[in-house]
């Protein structure tokens, strides 16, 4: 007789087995599997004796007392979130980027036909490079500030990082769009660094507004441990070089052409 695997028995015990009837039928006929299931159950039964302390009948009231002073007057509806000035600014920056890329594409289309496609690509890359460079610069500044944050005095129990948190939230939205664009453009290296940056920004955005010195140190260690500041600086430097490389050659004006014709 083929016995049930440990996985099947655990799945059966936890109510997530797909072939429940089959296992049930097997258990009725197989003493060895029943014994095995009993051993699993004994461990789980022991775990069930671990107590959860009773927080008290007035716990809900205590939670309310703690959080009430920290609540805003009115929660915002989902569409109001997108109408907040900082979100509008972030969305505006992205829309502007798309428009610039589109217009740049149109202008180069009208130009000389030979280098048309190459120019269009160049301009598009240049727009992305400038925008991402700026985004990395902002991210770097925020992370440096957070890395250097410290309690004002040794007795200070909590440090407010809400400003960095809000900036991280804004940067997060931009970051997602740039990462997706970098992926579409086939720039895997840039997409990978933006992906790592996104994780750090996510951590900062999801941290509590008030952190203890230990929590702050944990955030700082995380930033340091991932070496994200270094990576951001290296990529930004690379972007600046790319920016230089994609700069259009100075236009030849009429006098230059005349000078050349003289020779």
């Amino acid at each position: 007789m083929k016995h049930m695997t440990e996985e099947e028995l655990i799945a059966f015990r936890e109510g997530v087995a797909e072939q429940r009837a089959v296992i049930s039928e097997h258990l009725a006929a197989c003493e060895a599997c029943r014994g095995e299931l009993k051993r699993i159950q004994a461990v789980l039964a022991a775990l069930d004796t671990l107590p959860v302390p009773d927080p008290g009948a007035d716990y809900g009231r205590r939670v309310w007392r703690e959080i009430a002073p920290r609540l805003a007057e009115k929660p915002v509806r989902w569409w109001q979130v997108w109408m907040q000035p900082r979100r509008l600014a972030a969305a505006g920056a992205v829309v502007a980027l798309i428009i610039v890329a589109f217009v740049a594409g149109r202008i180069t289309k009208r130009g000389n036909t030979g280098d048309n496609v190459a120019n269009k690509e160049q301009v598009r890359e240049r727009v992305l490079v400038v925008a991402v460079g700026e985004h990395l610069g902002h991210s770097e500044r925020m992370l440096v500030e957070l890395s250097n944050a410290a309690p004002n005095n040794p007795a200070q129990k909590e440090i407010n990082i809400s400003a960095e948190q809000r900036r991280a939230e804004d940067l997060l939205e931009e970051n997602r769009l740039y990462r997706q664009t970098a992926l579409q453009e086939g720039d895997a290296g840039l997409a990978s660094v933006l992906d790592e940056l996104e994780r750090v920004l996510l951590d900062v955005a999801h941290s509590p507004e008030e952190v203890t010195p230990v929590q702050l140190e944990a955030i700082q260690k995380k930033i340091e441990g991932r070496g994200i500041l270094f990576k951001v600086r290296v990529v930004n430097k690379g972007l600046q070089q790319r920016q230089e490389a994609t700069k259009p050659a100075p236009a030849q004006n009429e006098s230059t052409k005349r000078e050349r014709n003289k020779v």
Binding site: P53, P55, G60, E73, K74, A218, K221
Partner: protein, 218 residues
């Protein structure tokens, strides 16, 4: 009316009353949110305590979950259940808290707080008709210590999956959503958690069962 029907009806009534409280909160009645906090705090605390393993963190998770719930209330779909929604926010925050705690502990290398809730919560002390002999007491303390260590040794995903499935009875889909994982992967996580707990605890559970059989326990 049988007990099952009563329970279903009471759950429906709470969900309807929650929906009204959410709408009132969104309309600017901040006190309406108080109803939601007072109603769901205990359930969220139980989940948070089981996930984080200590009272201080659990209380922090509860407060943070309700704060985040309030901030994101505008994004809450009216058709959903507020209790389930805030519960999910708490589970997500508890995962973050566990990660943070693990790193802090690894850095400080502090001794584990086995005795955090003292003897009053000893599982065996809750069994009224069995007098705690010194042997039994020692074994219980040891077993409890082992259980806490085994739970602490699980990854955040394993502990979350185990707590939500085994103790809280959540559906696999719901757990998968918290873990940002697929149903199959989540089932696998539940299995891994139970398997690890079994490997760590079975010798202690068997020793205890043998002691009981030999009558060294009263």
């Amino acid at each position: 009316m049988n007990r099952m029907q009563q329970s279903v009806e009471s759950t429906q009534a709470i969900a309807e009353s929650d929906a009204i409280a959410v709408e009132r909160t969104l309309a600017g009645d901040r006190d309406a949110y108080r109803v939601l906090v007072e109603r769901h705090s205990h359930t969220v605390f139980r989940l948070a305590y089981r996930m984080t393993g200590n009272r201080h963190d659990a209380e922090e998770v509860v407060q943070e979950a309700f704060l985040r719930g309030y901030q994101k209330l505008g994004q809450f779909a009216a058709r959903s259940n507020f209790g389930t929604w805030v519960y999910r926010i708490a589970a997500n925050y508890a995962i973050d808290r566990m990660r943070q705690r693990q790193k802090e502990e690894a850095r400080r290398e502090a001794p584990r707080a086995e005795d955090r809730d003292g003897m009053e919560n000893d599982p065996l002390n809750r069994v009224k008709d069995e007098a705690p002999t010194p042997e039994r007491l020692t074994q219980s303390i040891e077993l409890r210590k082992q259980m806490e260590q085994a739970l602490a040794a699980l990854s955040e995903a394993e502990r979350t999956a185990f707590v939500m499935r085994h103790w809280e009875g959540c559906g696999i889909e719901e757990i998968a959503e918290v873990l940002k994982s697929s149903s199959n992967a989540t089932k696998n996580t539940v299995f891994r958690a139970v398997q690890k707990l079994r490997r760590a605890l079975q010798p202690f559970v068997e020793t205890k069962a043998q002691a009981r059989a030999m009558g060294t326990e009263s």
